[in-house]
């Protein structure tokens, strides 16, 4: 495709035509805030936070779904844009619990980040809020509806793997919620605990339960590792705190990598100083299980324990 040159906040950038503004902006180091956008997922234009001003357009345009054209002039931080973003963030905060103090996501939460950046604060009001439905049924994922901003990233990422598609939007309008299957708990549902959804959730609505209470994001040292279970080689992060490996979490499932529980448990088993109890789902119930069974590795556990052999390229501080 031909290249086009556009101007974003007075900076000129040349990109292939058909590029979305949000990606073009990245080229010149301009970050446009967005909660529902993810280059690996279908564009939905739901959060409206990436609104920018395009000269010649009367309305504000979403940077995530507007393609560049030659000579386009974009303003990403004009007064009008900033005002709109503040209002949108305020609407989100008005329907979000004020518990950043204890929220596991604090420090990594995009809503928190943008609220800070745009100086938007929680405020008292008597209006309706999202119901505080918290699903604690899974040992791997904590689902807190009250914090959900309905960006839908979890639904989209879950649908990317054929045969999963566990999460969906249910109901509509203000009552919209994310549910599993036919509004089942994660335990009863067909969820396979791959944690793809957790990796894309911008807020604290879907959390890695095995990470909870293990530390604050800024306290962790993070090392990236590759899963060795199958040829996909999904990315995981080993989090260590005070020199101890305390948790493993799935990284974004990029490049068609599926992520799976087995891979995650295997990685936990390899890297964690004190691996947590593994659980396995049987007939809609999570049951404590043995590592042997959880990993399905009856005969090769011994092999796995041979650290030298399997951790090629990754430093292991066991």
């Amino acid at each position: 495709m031909a290249n086009v040159t556009i101007t974003i906040d007075s900076k000129k950038v040349t990109v292939p035509s058909g590029t979305f503004i949000i990606e073009a902006a990245k080229e010149v180091g301009i970050e446009i805030p967005a909660l529902c956008y993810d280059p690996n997922l279908e564009v939905v234009g739901a959060c409206r936070l990436c609104l920018v001003e395009v000269e010649g357009s009367r309305k504000l345009q979403t940077a995530c779904s507007t393609k560049v054209w030659d000579g386009m002039v974009v303003h990403t931080r004009s007064e009008r844009v900033v005002k709109a973003r503040k209002e949108i963030l305020q609407l989100l905060l008005d329907n979000h619990p004020n518990d950043c103090l204890t929220c596991q996501k604090a420090g990594e939460c995009l809503l928190q980040k943008y609220a800070y950046e745009y100086d938007v604060k929680f405020r008292e009001h008597d209006g309706d809020r999202r119901p505080a439905l918290v699903d604690t049924s899974s040992p791997y994922i904590l689902k807190d509806d009250s914090k959900c901003i309905l960006c839908g990233k979890c639904v989209r990422t879950c649908a990317q793997v054929a045969d999963r598609q566990v999460l969906t939007f249910a109901n509509r309008g203000f009552n919209t919620r994310i549910v599993a299957d036919i509004d089942l708990s994660l335990e009863e549902s067909s969820c396979v605990s791959c944690n793809r959804c957790v990796t894309v959730c911008p807020v604290g609505a879907l959390l890695d339960k095995r990470l909870m209470g293990k530390g604050r994001p800024w306290e962790f040292e993070i090392k990236e590792v590759k899963c060795k279970v199958c040829e996909y080689g999904c990315d995981f992060e080993v989090l260590s705190r005070n020199g101890k490996n305390v948790a493993v979490r799935a990284k974004a499932p990029s490049n068609g990598r599926p992520l799976c529980l087995k891979g995650r448990l295997t990685t936990e088993f390899i890297y964690l100083d004190e691996p947590y109890t593994p659980y396995k789902k049987e007939n809609g119930e999570f049951k404590e299980t043995t590592w042997k069974e959880a990993l399905g590795l009856d005969n090769i556990i011994e092999k796995l324990l041979d650290k030298e052999e399997i951790s090629t390229g990754v430093e292991y501080n066991g």
Binding site: A46, R48, T66, F174
Partner: protein, 626 residues
């Protein structure tokens, strides 16, 4: 397979049986002699629910009993004047009977049909003026109307494809297939400047051209029959009264843009329309007017019905396509044009029912004819659904540019019960309330948006002095909140907050800051929502705030509802009519009423719980609420 020749033959044959009722189309002929007489019964949405099938049967029975010859009885689509239904017209004289019950049929047959004597007591009340009996076309309601989209409604039998053909039906399709190339059809449509009747008013020809020019292996034509605006029922009337006009318009569009598959997406709330459309599609297929090799020209086009399931947002084009594709009707961001990438990623044309119903006449009579009607900005006619506090509720079709006053007062007969006109709400939940000072605005797409409302699909709800404008805004926001798909933040969260504020105000809990907050919410919802539903959701609030701000202020500052409509703000008072009978005091559950026997009583408004028991008990109507 049908040929053009056979189409003409059907027309000639069928016209013979239709003679006298066709006088309805030619005002000059009304009253002249005809070879037959015709009892025409309205089967529009309103009348149809009043047992018109039974009324028809009774007519047929009674006519046979009396041995009358050359009298035809048929039910046709909507006559428009729902207010006085069930309506009956008798031709050739054009006598207009209203509110007909089954018991009235015998009298009409015996007097009118047997003895040529008009049954005056059953005449429509406007069909009698100073002892003169007016034929239907001279009745005020019909005088200023001009019909294009509704041309066949109220004349042909909706179950008869032959009658549709008799009135030049499918002749436009025959014309484009045999005499015009695709580009010529696009040119005619562009020149006509027919603008989309669904609300936004986008020029139809230009839309078609975009899809026409885009190469693809498959293209789709969709008829948006998801008429969801509360208070609008023109599409329903067209679909029920003249379904073939929509099918023909779609087929012409299919030919022009190069599509062989059409879909009609229709609301499930319209079961009768669904039935009639199914029948019409079947008939058209049987006659070879839909399907393969239409009229032997090699053109293929078929139409499938898809039903909605109760979601207003599906009237929005991209949500509608999501729904046809079998998903939640959540609008898509417009990365590509629908005419390039629409249904299943293929070029797609979406037009609404009334738009398609306008196509065939434009092809047959030409773009210049069409442009001679209406205004420069918006040629042609528009169908409006007149409802609310207006005397003649019903459907009217008038040239664009007719003023609101003409529509509401000359045609609609003004307000009812001597109440003062306050506003007219146009465009449903996306529209606004227009106050009296703009009644002389000629209605077209541009003029209505200039005064803070929109044409929308053509709903017009008349409001009088007893309607509270804050409550009307609340009503529409309640609707929008309920119908918001929930996808984008401003619409999902913002409309809910607006509704909460409006509820507070109508309950007397509103604060001055609430008015500012309403305005800032309106701004963000309008400027940043994903789809048309959200972008226009604040219109009812914005327009009422603009024109009726004093009503909002009365609620907020004085805790008073000037229209006397908001229950929480009403107060009960005893007037001088009081005879001191003590009944009210005895019925008051909270002992808020005091007074001596035979003296005027007083209500302590602080204690009063506004239950209304006193008002019911008072024998002389001395208790009022305001």
């Amino acid at each position: 397979m049908m040929t053009v020749e056979e189409l003409r033959k059907i027309k000639e044959e069928t016209l013979k049986h239709m003679e006298s009722k066709l006088y309805k189309l030619d005002k000059e002929k009304i009253g002249q002699k005809a070879t037959n007489r015709h009892v025409l019964i309205c089967g529009g949405p309103g009348c149809y629910s009043s047992n018109v099938e039974e009324i028809k049967e009774r007519f047929v029975e009674k006519i046979a009993e009396k041995g009358l010859e050359n009298v035809e009885v048929s039910i046709s689509g909507c006559f428009g004047l729902c207010e006085s239904g069930p309506n009956i017209e008798i031709y050739p004289d054009g006598t207009f009977y209203s509110r007909i019950k089954i018991e009235d049929v015998d009298e009409i047959v015996e007097k009118h049909l047997c003895q040529n004597e008009i049954v005056e007591r059953l005449l429509n009340e406007d069909a009698k003026k100073e002892d003169k009996i007016l034929p239907v076309h001279q009745v005020d309601f019909y005088k200023k109307q001009e019909k294009i989209a509704l041309r066949n409604c109220g004349i042909i039998d909706y179950n008869s494809i032959e009658e549709y053909i008799a009135l030049d039906g499918y002749h436009a399709l025959a014309k484009v297939l045999t005499e015009m190339d695709r580009g010529e059809v696009i040119e005619v449509m562009k020149k006509s400047n027919l603008r989309g009747r669904g609300g936004a008013g986008f020029p139809t020809g230009r839309k078609w051209e975009t899809a026409y020019k885009y190469e693809a292996d498959k293209k789709y034509v969709i008829c948006n029959a998801d008429e969801g605006d509360p208070g609008a029922f023109m599409d329903r009337s067209i679909l029920e009264g003249d379904p073939h006009s929509v099918l023909e318009g779609m087929a012409i569009c299919g030919y022009a843009v190069g599509s062989d598959q059409g879909y009609i997406y229709i609301r499930a709330e319209y079961p009768v329309a669904v039935k009639r459309l199914r029948t019409a599609i079947k008939q058209a297929r049987e006659k070879g007017l839909l399907g393969k090799n239409i009229l032997g020209t090699g053109f293929n086009f078929d139409i499938e019905l898809r039903l909605g399931a109760g979601a207003f947002v599906c009237g929005e084009g991209t949500a509608l396509m999501e729904s046809i594709e079998g998903r939640r009707g959540m609008p898509r961001p417009k990365v590509e044009r629908t005419a390039h990438k629409g249904l299943w990623g293929k070029p797609t044309i979406i037009n609404n029912v009334e738009t398609f119903a306008n196509v065939a006449p434009i092809i047959l009579k030409g773009a210049d004819w069409f442009r001679s009607i209406g205004t420069e900005d918006s040629p042609g006619t528009k169908v409006f659904a007149l409802g609310g506090k207006v005397k003649n509720t019903g459907l009217v079709e008038v040239p664009m540019g007719t003023t609101l006053r003409e529509i509401i007062f000359d045609i609609g007969g003004g307000t009812v019960g001597g109440k003062k006109f306050k506003a007219v709400q146009t465009g449903g939940p996306s529209g606004g309330c227009i106050p009296e000072e703009f009644l002389d605005t000629p209605v077209d797409f541009a003029s209505l948006s200039k005064i803070g409302s929109i044409m929308g699909s053509g709903g017009m709800i008349v409001l009088d002095e007893s309607d509270c404008m804050v409550d009307i805004a609340r009503f529409f926001l309640d609707f929008t909140v309920d119908e918001s798909c929930g996808k984008c933040v401003p619409c999902r969260e913002g409309t809910k907050r607006m509704l909460e504020i409006l509820e507070r105000i109508t309950e007397g809990e509103g604060t001055p800051e609430d008015l500012d907050r309403l305005e800032s919410l309106a701004e963000i919802i309008t400027s940043s929502s994903l789809c048309g539903l959200g972008q226009t959701a604040a219109n009812p609030v914005v327009s009422t705030l603009k024109y009726f701000r004093e009503e909002y202020e009365a609620h907020v500052y004085e805790k008073r509802c000037p229209a006397g409509s908001c229950q929480a703000l009403l107060q009960y008072f005893i007037t001088d009519k009081c005879i001191g009978c003590t009944k009210c005091a005895r019925n008051c559950p909270v002992s808020a009423i005091s007074g001596k026997v035979k003296e005027k009583h007083v209500i302590d408004t602080e204690t009063c719980i506004k239950c209304g028991a006193c008002m019911e008990a008072c024998p002389v109507g001395a208790i009022i609420k305001k």
